[in-house]
């Protein structure tokens, strides 16, 4: 107990120093410090939770889904601890728990809602022993850091095989790789998926990964394609097919980045988030919330007033322009955000930000898998930004997009946007993680946005 309390105090002091010195939000470093003092600190803190934890993993949508879940639980009167700033390695989760711990070293919360980096899931599950684990999707992402999809899938399968018997896996049936994980588990997972062909395509994007049957290697037949390789699929040899979802979304209506509506179990849900990819996030959060007995009527009512996390369709007013920041960090994610901006929101003005720092992935060749061709002839202003803005400019040139001069300085990118647009215009800032942080930091410096740890 003394070791635990010492670790909590050291972690909290580190967090305070980090914020006071403005070196960051104290979202990771306190976890490092506390774990040196007590390597089992996260396990001990998780045991303090009244009801337990829900962990969320997958390539895209972790932050939004975790935030949706926290929103639902808090609205029901629960105290929730969550790594809201998106620091999703084990240190970030530890730091979030430390932040909510009291001076006696005890974590004062009812639920933990933690988004977990895919590669960190085995360790996180081992330490947290969650009550439910959500796996959203598996797309190629940062191959230099994670390796191939199969490598990640095996790690997740191993982690889910080691959760307590009382723990429930909640899985996306529409993702062939996630489905294969779930079908191999000893305990049946709770499956969710979309069921509305009016929003589906019939062809896979070229960057889709899970194209083949994991059992016999034949090319899967896709009867519907929703996002990337997520859809309704089957093996021509009947070796493998999409599991039937127990929680399904129908009658989907999309209105750009402004709103979406869908029906689940006869309950109509309408909320201020945009894009088909967010239908998956809402459905995942709904499935998890129902699994812990929140009612459908309450979920629908609460979601009407949801506010997205920083950089996830976050809206900022900047010198008369309406800026919408949309994190776009891998081919599948970027394809969806570009598609939503161009086709559903009729967007005309863009900053596309690309950095190559550790959190973005140091290999930026993935931009060639993004269908920037969608911007051709549709966008009026496209500004390549970030420390790899010139790479992006080359990619846009090959896509036939008439882009502005690349801007490696965030301030200059924003200045060029102001110069190239008029008051009242809307601009979409589609950026990788640290490119988005850089643009946000500039907006904060100019007094137009709050620091991300305050959102």
């Amino acid at each position: 107990m003394i070791r635990k309390t010492a670790a909590v105090w050291a972690g909290k002091a580190t967090g305070t120093l980090s914020r006071v010195s403005r070196r960051g939000g104290g979202t990771t470093l306190p976890g490092d410090v506390a774990r040196i003092i007590d390597p089992k600190i996260l396990t001990r803190l998780a045991q303090d939770l009244t009801y337990g934890s829900i962990v969320v993993t997958g390539t895209n949508g972790k932050t939004t889904t975790a935030r949706l879940l926290s929103w639902l639980l808090e609205g029901a009167g629960h105290r929730v601890v969550a790594n809201r700033a998106g620091a999703n390695l084990i240190f970030g989760v530890t730091a979030a728990a430390l932040n909510r711990a009291g001076s006696d070293g005890r974590l004062k919360a009812d639920w933990g809602v933690f988004e977990i980096d895919e590669a960190s899931l085995p360790k996180a599950v081992d330490e947290i022993q969650p009550r439910a684990t959500l796996v959203l999707n598996l797309f190629r992402d940062q191959l230099d850091r994670y390796g191939e999809l199969e490598t990640i899938a095996k790690k997740i399968e191993k982690a889910l095989g080691a959760v307590p018997e009382t723990s429930r896996a909640i899985l996306n049936a529409d993702d062939p790789r996630v489905a294969e994980i779930g079908l191999n588990l000893a305990r049946k997972p709770l499956w969710y998926g979309l069921d509305d062909i009016s929003v589906a395509s019939t062809t896979l994007p070229h960057a889709a990964d899970a194209r083949t049957c994991p059992r016999c290697g034949s090319s899967l037949i896709f009867d519907a394609v929703y996002v990337g390789h997520d859809g309704v699929y089957r093996c021509p040899n009947h070796d493998f097919s999409r599991p039937t979802p127990e929680i399904a979304a129908t009658n989907i209506k999309l209105d750009g980045f402004d709103s979406l509506a869908l029906t689940i179990d006869g309950t109509r849900i309408e909320m201020p988030l945009g894009g088909l990819y967010n239908c998956y996030n809402v459905l995942a959060a709904y499935a998890a919330a129902r699994s812990i007995d929140l009612t459908a009527a309450y979920i629908a009512d609460r979601l009407r007033t949801f506010k997205a996390a920083f950089g996830r369709q976050e809206r900022v007013e900047f010198r008369g322009r309406h800026l919408i920041l949309v994190l776009s960090k891998n081919p599948a994610g970027f394809n969806e955000t570009v598609r939503t901006a161009v086709e559903l929101a009729q967007g005309k003005n863009f900053i596309v930000g690309l950095n190559d720092r550790k959190a973005d992935g140091t290999d930026v060749s993935w931009i060639w898998d993004v269908d920037f061709e969608m911007l051709k002839g549709k966008a009026d202003v496209v500004i390549p930004a970030g420390n790899r803005a010139h790479d992006l400019a080359v990619r846009l040139k090959y896509a036939g997009v008439a882009a502005e001069q690349p801007q490696t300085d965030s301030g200059k990118a924003l200045d060029l946007l102001i110069k190239s647009t008029r008051e009242g215009d809307t601009a979409y800032l589609l950026c990788t993680y640290t490119a988005m942080l850089d643009l946000r930091a500039e907006l904060v410096r100019r007094g137009w946005a709050s620091p991300y740890w305050e959102t």
């Binding site: 190629r140 070229h206 194209r211 060749s365 931009i367 898998d369």
Partner: protein
């Protein structure tokens, strides 16, 4: 001069950047051909 570039199993074996190589080679060959005609 005529040269042929083969891209084997692009739907199954494509990894980051493969598409970029193909696009840049196609683009470069068009530029080279245009330049040689001048």
């Amino acid at each position: 001069m005529k040269f042929t570039v083969g891209w084997l199993y692009p739907d199954l074996m494509n990894i980051y950047g493969d598409r970029g190589w193909m696009m840049s080679m196609s683009f470069s060959s068009v530029v080279a051909r245009t330049a040689s005609r001048r």
